[in-house]
Symmetry: C2
């Protein structure tokens, strides 16, 4: 474990110089770990999320194996759908299924007000338990889904390839769309702030699927609501990371939504991404999760390419461009941590 | 039908001034047309491709309804897998299934030499029949899949979400990878040239899934083979279009593979894409196929945005950013054609 990984991580979020580049991995608490799979044999994904002791254990698992500088809370971006009354379950293979998807303006109006501090209180309990159990040298990152990505699941009823129902709703019912995303923005913004009050040292807003939008549609239909959620989170006083995939075509707008750190996928060189988002923001990324399956020399070459692109400038947090895949070899993750930390 | 759509289309490919912006739609011959669905009730997808009379009929169908400036040959990018001995079928819902996917270097070595002029001769027969039946005012576009996209299907055994097997093969077996893509480049390059000799007025190389790669991986593992295929096609003497999706992060490299026209998806503004690919190339795109489901006023706004971004500069071919979706309303496509052609 690094002597002060948390300090290193938080300094990088604020673009202050660090002794080494900090590193953590999206979905580092997950199926690639045998101890996680063992728990999943006895508990469903939702049971793990709902039970603070178990969610705490899962959050801690990767930190016992990997010298990462931060732990990410184990939870699911779709948990708010339960108090929203949409009905959430996970089919075999873990794809989410929304029982009562949102398909019209009436369904948006009917959404109940949700106080995440109460109705998602079990997540906040997990934050408190993790913070107590985690070595102080490891930062705890909380998270939530961004309004667009949550809306896409709520409307599609699950995962989607072309987001046809989402965009059709957006085009046909712009008022209901903005009402829905406005509600989601308040919910996730206050949820992130509550996680900070419970002990999260930083929070990340995941807009994983926003890259299906055109730049003009991003600005009109998604950005205002991400901005609001980020604003609520930042008011809680810790660094906020804003992550999306396939954002290369509108990265300036994505950064302009407002966050301390912008997370980018592997589809754009880190240096040109940083130029686009501007020197006033830190950057997180951007190794292809599949590079972890490459032979060691190839993996090392790719890690060094990213470190070289960052050029040692303060404000780079090493990460993947998306989550760790279930079959990822654990050794490859430790190799990356070591390579990143060795680099002064 | 425009008086000389073919001339308008070919001039735009060469960046010469035209009376109006030319327009056609990727997958304009397909399931959104009731007359296509009627044929598909009696014939499988492969039967339609294998039977020049039927493939000709399907190619012509959209040109009877829509005043498009070009027709695109009805075929499938995976047809070369049949003479390559990989075994090709389409499951219900039309997802391709490769019976004998390529999983090791030996399978690459074992690939037979394929002469597309002979073993894909039925496609060339279709080109000849379409050319004879199509009004001279409509250009005929031939096409093939790019080496990377074909390799991804050959290795995955079908469609993929994260291209895990493809990238693992690429990283672990770089020699076999380059051998495979080299063979595919020769095959599709000569196939495109043969389509030109049979009467295609232009050809398009589809690298639909190349946007899953990082910019560095694109340059190393895909671009050299696309360049070779494009070179063979261009030597046949007609304009060549090079299309991919999710290419915003490495669009300069994508354009640098060499083509007369670069096709872009909707995830990047057309004007900034054109700046990146350079004024020496024409550009094709880039309406989100889902915009065709928007109310008429919204659709019109999006079409005008793209025309404004092109700014009337010679060398813009209007198209979608990917193929027409099966449930697309036909009227929306005609609306787009009319809007594009009205604009002087």
């Amino acid at each position: 474990m690094p002597a002060d990984g948390a300090g290193r991580f938080l300094k990088a979020c604020r673009r202050e110089p660090t002794d080494a580049t900090p590193v953590w991995f999206m979905r580092q608490a997950g199926r690639y770990l045998p101890e996680y799979r063992a728990l999943r044999e006895r508990h469903s994904l939702l049971e793990l999320c709902h039970t603070p002791d178990l969610a705490t254990e899962v959050t801690l698992q990767p930190t016992r194996r990997l010298a990462v500088d931060a732990a990410i809370l184990f939870a699911d971006i779709l948990l708010p759908f339960e108090p929203l009354g949409l009905g959430l379950s996970f089919a075999k293979g873990e794809g989410p299924v929304i029982e009562r998807p949102i398909r019209d303006a009436r369904a948006v109006t009917a959404l109940p007000a949700v106080d995440p501090a109460v109705e998602l209180g079990y997540v906040l309990d997990t934050v408190r338990l993790v913070r107590a159990a985690l070595p102080p040298a490891v930062a705890l990152i909380g998270f939530a889904g961004a309004p667009f990505t949550l809306a896409s699941y709520a409307i599609e009823g699950g995962a989607s390839r072309d987001f046809a129902l989402t965009k059709r709703f957006m085009y046909a019912e712009p008022k209901a769309w903005h009402s829905l995303l406005g509600k989601l923005a308040e919910l996730v913004g206050s949820f992130l702030a509550a996680q900070v009050r419970a002990g999260a040292a930083a929070v990340q807003l995941f807009d994983s699927w926003v890259g299906c939008l055109s730049p003009a549609d991003y600005r009109e239909y998604a950005q205002p609501h991400s901005r609001r959620a980020l604003e609520l989170a930042r008011a809680a006083g810790v660094p906020v990371i804003h992550f999306g995939t396939n954002t290369a075509g509108f990265l300036a707008d994505f950064a302009d939504a407002g966050s301390d750190v912008v997370g980018v996928d592997w589809r754009i060189p880190l240096d040109s991404a940083w130029t686009t988002i501007g020197a006033t923001r830190a950057i997180q990324g951007n190794l292809d999760p599949l590079a972890l399956f490459a032979p060691p020399a190839e993996l090392e070459r790719r890690v060094r390419e990213i470190l070289n692109a960052a050029g040692g400038r303060p404000g780079h947090i090493f990460n993947l461009g998306h989550g760790v895949l279930p079959e990822t070899p654990i050794d490859a993750l430790q190799t990356v941590v070591d390579l990143v930390h060795q680099r002064k």
